[in-house]
């Protein structure tokens, strides 16, 4: 049970991010919540890579037969998901700048109501 603490941390991160998105009004805080969810998912992926007493999956001069290596695929998935997160973050901040230009506020309840 104790050894599932990393997964508990993952769930906690995701829930904190979700709560920030749902209960906060400031658009910047909503963006921060999304990045929190994303970091939680990344943490989950990189947690899956670990094997007890393992090293990084790189062959060096000190590698022997009994060297345990951690799983390489989750590293690659995490790398991809981090880059995707950077792209999404850049686009969201760009749009937040434009929203502030047009509305003069960042309150999520004051903007975006379709009148007609």
């Amino acid at each position: 049970m104790l050894f599932n603490l990393p997964y508990i941390a993952v769930v906690a991160l995701i829930l904190i991010g979700l709560a920030a998105v749902i209960f906060k009004r400031n658009l910047i805080k909503i963006v921060i919540g999304i990045t929190l969810i994303e970091s939680g998912v990344n943490l989950f992926l990189i947690t899956l890579a670990y094997r007890g007493g393992s090293t990084a999956p790189i062959y060096t001069a000190t590698t022997t037969e009994e060297t345990i290596m951690s799983l390489p695929v989750p590293h690659a998935l995490t790398l991809t998901s981090i880059v995707i997160g950077v792209a999404v973050l850049a686009l969201m901040l760009t749009l937040v700048v434009h929203i502030y230009r047009h509305y003069g506020t960042l309150d999520a309840r004051k903007i975006g109501r379709e009148e007609e």
Partner: protein
């Protein structure tokens, strides 16, 4: 405390409950017993030098085994740059 927040908290609690149960049911951290042995990753670790020639297993996965994902990833960055430029463009010709 509006009615919206109460409903939100209720369903939020349901989701949290199930996710935490799932977290407790996942296989223990860093332990791989017989019934879930990582065949795919073990295969990559064993054959990365002979098949791709790279000492770095992660780079072998990123650029050879799952190279198409990396193409998509580079495309995502390209898309983000194009989007930022098009959103900050000059509107007059």
């Amino acid at each position: 405390m509006s009615i919206r927040n109460i409903v939100a908290l209720a369903f939020f609690g349901v989701v949290a409950l199930f996710l935490i149960f799932g977290a407790l049911m996942t296989h223990p951290f860093g332990e791989f017993d017989e019934d879930n042995t990582p065949e795919m990753d073990q295969y990559i670790i064993d054959n990365t030098q002979s098949e791709t020639g790279a000492d770095n297993g992660v780079t072998a996965v990123v650029f050879d085994y799952r190279g198409f994902d990396t193409l998509g990833e580079a495309t995502v960055l390209f898309t983000a740059v194009a989007g930022v430029i098009i959103l900050f463009r000059r509107l007059k010709k």
